[in-house]
């Protein structure tokens, strides 16, 4: 039982007409490895397989992928958490174009992130040292700033699949709220007026796939609810 059956999504647009699944047998020697370790062992068998990975400890957000149907970071996902019947199926994050094998084109994801202007904007005269914030105001940013932009949430969201060019997606909206909630940011009105169309925020139907997959345990659905509340208060 220590031989794990792994099926990996392969696609190289230079050689393949269509994506295909390649099967591997991996001897885990009974250890509860991380999925990334298994990928490294597969690469020893077939060096043509490509995937993104960097920090291998859930900080950089490079190795988001779909493991047995659920998005997550392969470096912090132990086999015991995903493997069923000794089988592991690895696919790229769904909904975005595949560049090759497990590597996806994240341009649309980054475009939506850029659109919410993810930086502090303040027109007031800068103080001599720094802009101060009360501990209570700082607490409001907890659960928001920790996002590592791995795209596990947005690529598990059907609303983002159907309208990745118009719906900001859970990752972008979590960051949108991070700046709306920041006591030092003075551009709240401008930010809200960029979000009041029917797609950017309101395409969220609250199904909470994002909450289900976030490797950092964050809650984009709650943040989206707060943005919606701000928008309604702003107009009603």
């Amino acid at each position: 039982m220590s031989t794990l059956q792994v099926s990996v999504y392969r696609y190289n647009p230079e050689n393949d007409d269509a994506p295909w699944m390649q099967d591997f047998e991996i001897d885990t020697q009974g250890r509860d490895l991380m999925v990334l370790n298994v990928l490294q062992m597969i690469k020893e068998q077939d060096s043509s397989l490509v995937y993104r990975a960097s920090c291998r400890e859930g900080v950089c957000g490079s190795d988001g992928m779909n493991m047995n149907g659920k998005n997550g970071l392969s470096c912090v996902t132990p086999l015991s958490e995903v493997v069923k019947d000794n089988r592991l199926v690895l696919r790229p994050l769904p909904g975005l174009p595949v560049i090759r094998d497990l590597i996806i084109d994240m341009s649309l994801f980054y475009k939506q992130y850029e659109r919410i202007q993810p930086y502090l904007q303040n027109d007031e005269r800068p103080p001599a040292i720094e802009r101060l914030q009360s501990p209570e105001d700082r607490d409001k940013l907890d659960g928001l700033y920790e996002c590592i932009l791995c795209a596990c949430c947005s690529t598990s969201c059907p609303s983002f699949w159907w309208n990745p060019d118009k719906f900001v997606g859970p990752a972008g909206l979590l960051q949108a709220y991070r700046f709306l909630a920041d006591s030092r940011d003075t551009h709240t009105q401008d930010r809200l007026s960029e979000l009041d169309d029917p797609f950017s925020v309101f395409r969220c139907r609250g199904i909470m796939n994002c909450v289900n997959v976030c490797p950092k345990g964050l809650n984009p659905t709650r943040a989206i609810g707060k943005i919606r509340e701000m928008l309604v208060r702003n107009t009603a």
Partner: protein, 115 residues
């Protein structure tokens, strides 16, 4: 920012509030109707047309009818923009929906005030 045929300058906040308000009205109308039918098990034509002869009942029913139309319009617009990608087919579908809703409302008004 986002423009769409049949929906120039559509606003997400307004859509969201219409959806909630119409749902509340439809909820109240449903509760009223279920309660009325439960407390009148031997309902006959005279009692039924008597209920709808009151002006407040006509107004309440018309309000529910308009709520159905608004709720359906917002909801189906969202479904269509999610799932129907070719603009011509989406436009045709939404045109059919809005025309059908218009006919139902006018027809409904005639029925309610025909009592």
């Amino acid at each position: 920012m986002v423009t769409n045929i049949l929906n120039p300058g559509r606003n997400g906040v307004a859509d969201w509030m219409i959806q909630r308000a119409s749902a509340v009205i439809l909820g109240l109308y449903t509760i009223f109707m279920v309660a009325y039918l439960m407390f009148n098990p031997d309902l006959d034509y005279a009692a039924w047309s008597g209920l709808f002869s009151h002006l407040w009942m006509k107004v309440f029913t018309l309000l529910a009818l308009l709520s159905i139309a608004a709720h359906t319009w917002v909801g189906l617009w969202i479904v269509a923009t999610d799932y129907i990608k070719p603009a011509a087919i989406r436009f045709g579908t939404l045109l059919f929906v809005i025309l059908a809703l218009f006919v139902f409302v006018v027809w409904g008004v005639q029925v309610i005030w025909g009592v």
